[in-house]
């Protein structure tokens, strides 16, 4: 699975980082990006889905299943 954060949409709500700390990095202002080019390690798929479904800006998408 691979995820992507749309930096145009991300407003730094920090929901993703709170729910799936290993999958996201925050910059100095608190905006998110996906770590490891968005590759979700095996076993972390549910966390990735949780992050997607809690981002109020609809900024995270699953690009490959």
């Amino acid at each position: 699975m691979r995820i992507r954060v749309d930096s145009e949409k991300c407003e730094g709500h920090n929901r993703c980082k709170a729910l799936a700390a290993e999958l996201f990095d925050l910059d100095d202002l608190g905006y998110a990006s996906a770590v490891a080019e968005g590759v979700v390690p095996p076993g972390a798929e549910d966390q990735a889905r949780l992050a997607v479904s809690n981002c109020p800006e609809f900024a995270i998408e699953i690009v490959e299943d």
Partner: protein
Amino acid sequence: MSDEHRPVEDWATDYDIFDPDYVKEPGPVWDDLRQRCPIAHTKRWGGSFMATRYEDVQQLVRMTPELSSRSPTIVPPSPELREEMIAEVKAYGSENPPITADPPEHKPYKQLILPFFTPKATDSYRAFTEDLCNTLIDGLVDKGQCDAAAEYAQQIPPRVIARILGIDPARGAEFTEWTQGVLELGQTNPELRTKYRRIIRDFFAELVAHRRENPSDDVVSTLIAAEVEGEALSDHSIIGICNLLLVAGIDTTWSSIGAALWHFAGHPEDRRRMVREPDLFPTAIEELLRFYGPVMMGRRILEPVTIAGTELTPGEKLILNFPAANRDPEVFDRADEVVLDRERNRHVAFGIGIHRCAGSNLARMEMDVALRTWFERIPEFELSDPDAVTWAGGQVRGPRSIPVRY
């Protein structure tokens, strides 16, 4: 303004955000409006439209420049204060950036304050907040009863933000009074609004002058040293930003902590569940923010836009009703229930789009510490007099008195 308190006959065409029954329990009105008239209108309090559906709110926050944040309060100031504010904005720029700024002016101001409110930065205030909450409980625990709003929830946010701004946390009660004066009571009382705006600005004018002489590494000194578009900030802007940082997090966060305690005091099942499963706090806090989201924001309509078949007419205000959007059944299953372990929760209690609450990480940390500390020390509590609970409403809604016994 007594005419403003006529009973409401039709909420779709004549809503009153200060109606006492609505303030206590707005859910039924929101459900009715969402179905029947998703963009309601009123002539009261200066005239406004109000959006209650999630989808509409998501669209409206992105409609700039037609919808402007230059005056995000719902009730307009008195004509005199309005004149004064317009003259100042002409001379010095936005009143309380970033909340009163539109693109492109907004972004550099937001970027100036965000570093103070990242998850990492707010975590550094956690120990202070824990000490504060424990000290408050020390004074309450043996009494067997207290006012969970006035004696606990209300006491926390002013001291935490004072600490962050490098001002004296012991003056917390004053900061609360100023915030209530300019926001809660000031909404419907123009003299109070003018008076407390002056008090707050004078306080920060003095502080800025002092920090210019004695710089340190605090927020105010950082703002003094900062540049926007290659130019240092005017005192007017620095005072405006500090004013915003002081007041934006006080009655809002206090309302959220209070509403959560009120919920648990009245819902023993939910209270017991949190005692049994404290790991649920992060998820439960998001759900309480969804259900009891305290804040609605205003926009000034500068140019006509159409939303859900309604044309918004320039000159009036638009209310972005985030709390109503949070209970939209199109988006949330069992929207009208508090589901403590709700997994999918895209609530918009902190707003959305470019004006997303800069203090959201701080507010969440304060809620987390306040609730965990209360539950550790007073796990069993209930409302001692449900009829004595009072709510403040309008732009920020939350309980102001919650008598509990334990």
